[in-house]
């Protein structure tokens, strides 16, 4: 059974079809890149997978069942924005996660935070944007999930932090889990991808294994992308 399946998924906003008849299967144990231009529908698709949007048509199935409390226990989502309660401290946020997520490894999170020099008594509102993003990454990676969905984890982040993020993703890799990385900064992450899904104008343009694509096109995925979706 596949990990996550989208069947004829569509989403309309007012008069625009953000997603049209998307059919997708995410396998286990793979690092998958969701690549597309800004506005292609990546974030819409991801929000639908996380039950933050209601489909206009079609369904999302996680391990064969509709999205619900069980699927949310197994999906760890890192959105682009900061979603933490600003009045809470880092320590309180950790306890919040530990309270609701049964597979949250609080010790691991504390270790990672210590590495990042993040004090546990710091209030979220006092942290810089970069620190907040790192904190959110740590929180997501400290959960033992079956699917990690990271939306633009490298955007607006310095190169050292980018390396840190990629290392963390690789260190966290488990054979029964998958990672879905959505980004438009393809060159930075393509070397760790197993598979790629190209999305354009709300439809799936291509699904392929990363190395197969490189062999077939004789170039980097970044180059292929530029060629194919030239403005």
């Amino acid at each position: 059974m596949s990990l996550l399946e989208c069947k004829h998924l569509s989403k309309r906003f007012g008069n625009t079809m953000a997603l049209q008849d998307v059919n997708l299967t995410l396998p286990r144990g793979r690092i998958i890149g969701l690549l597309g231009k800004n506005g292609a529908g990546k974030t819409t698709l991801i929000k639908l997978m996380n039950d933050l949007l209601t489909p206009t048509g079609g369904t999302v199935l996680f391990e064969g069942a509709p999205l619900g409390a069980e699927s949310k226990q197994a999906i760890a989502y890192l959105p682009e924005r900061t979603y933490l309660e600003r009045s809470m401290t880092v320590a309180q946020t950790l306890r919040y996660f530990a309270t609701f997520y049964t597979s949250f490894d609080q010790e691991k999170a504390q270790r990672l935070l210590a590495d990042l020099d993040l004090r546990e008594d710091a209030r979220i509102s006092t942290l810089s944007k970069g620190m907040q993003e790192k904190l959110q990454l740590v929180l997501v990676m400290s959960r033992k999930a079956k699917l990690y969905i990271l939306d633009e984890p490298l955007g607006g982040v310095d190169p050292a932090t980018r390396d840190y993020i990629l290392d963390t993703i690789l260190q966290n890799f488990a054979e029964d889990a998958s990672v879905l990385l959505s980004t438009h900064l393809i060159a930075d992450i393509e070397r760790i991808l197993d598979d790629v899904i190209l999305i354009d104008k709300g439809q799936i343009a291509e699904e392929a294994s990363a190395d197969e694509l490189r062999t077939r096109e004789g170039c980097a995925i970044d180059d292929y992308f530029r060629r194919r979706f030239k403005c």
Binding site: L53, A69, K72, Q73, R81, L84, E85, F100
Partner: protein, 264 residues
């Protein structure tokens, strides 16, 4: 899960703000009472009594409004704002999430009400002259039940306001992309519609009992109102109707909410 979620919401809604507000309200009530006791001694003490009494009334009302506003802000922010990214991805059923938010608001309102009531008790019931009158009233048959029914009516009215606002927020999000003016409009319309229906039903029921009908259509003094069985009947039926209305509002709002969200 439900209780855990509620604990966090209550911490946010009541938190330091309402706690300090409650302390201040009770302090003002105490001071009003103290100045009342001293008021015969000097004019300016009498003046202070009046000022603090007035201040207490403002605080008592303000704390209720504050509790209502904070709970609605919490509702909107944690379900439709940025923190909703966390709320909606928690491993909890959508129904439970809604119930937790709605109940947290209700508990906060009850807390604020309790503070106001306590303050009122401090300012008024500790006075010997008022207590005498109260004891006399309590000796009469049926006063206690009437008072209880009045309390229930007040509580249910507040709950009706709260749930109307919640329903308005849910509808506003689903139909009007969460724009505030529309949410407010929906809330107000729902509140008046529900109140009108309940009042209408009470009136209709009163046609069955002529004495009750008389109560509704003719002027009366406060003393007499307390004596009448018909008053209690009216209050009792009203309480039941409002209880049903509030439950209906809760279930309707939860039903619409569970159909799904579209978070920005």
């Amino acid at each position: 899960m439900l209780k855990k979620l509620m604990r966090y919401d209550l911490q946010w809604i009541i938190g330091k703000v309402l706690s300090y507000y409650s302390a201040a309200t009770l302090l003002i009530a105490l001071l009003a009472r103290v100045f009342h006791a001293l008021s015969s001694q000097a004019f300016f003490l009498h003046l202070l009594e009046k000022i603090f009494s007035g201040a207490f009334i403002s605080c008592g009302i303000a704390i209720l409004i504050n509790a209502l506003m904070r709970s609605l802000v919490c509702f909107r922010s944690t379900l439709y704002g940025d923190p909703s990214y966390l709320t909606h991805t928690l491993p909890i059923k959508r129904r439970t999430v809604f119930t937790a938010k709605a109940l947290s608001g209700t508990v906060s309102l009850m807390f604020a009400l309790a503070v106001s009531a306590l303050g009122l008790a401090i300012t008024v019931l500790t006075r010997a002259d008022v207590w005498e009158k109260a004891k006399e009233l309590l000796r009469q048959r049926g006063t206690v039940s009437t008072l209880l029914l009045i309390c229930a009516a007040v509580v249910l009215q507040l709950v009706e306001m709260h749930f109307s606002a919640v329903f308005g927020l849910v509808l506003g999000h689903r139909r009007e992309k969460g724009r505030i003016p529309f949410s407010i409009l929906y809330s107000v319309l729902i509140y008046f519609a529900v109140s009108a229906v309940v009042t209408g039903l009470l009136f209709a029921l009163s046609l069955l009992k002529p004495e009750v009908h008389a109560l509704l259509t003719q002027p009366l003094s406060t003393q007499e109102m307390f004596k009448m069985e018909e008053m209690r009947f009216l209050l009792a039926v009203g309480t039941v109707l409002y209880l049903l209305a509030d439950s209906g509002l809760f279930l309707a709002a939860r039903h619409v909410f569970c159909k799904g969200v579209d978070v920005e």
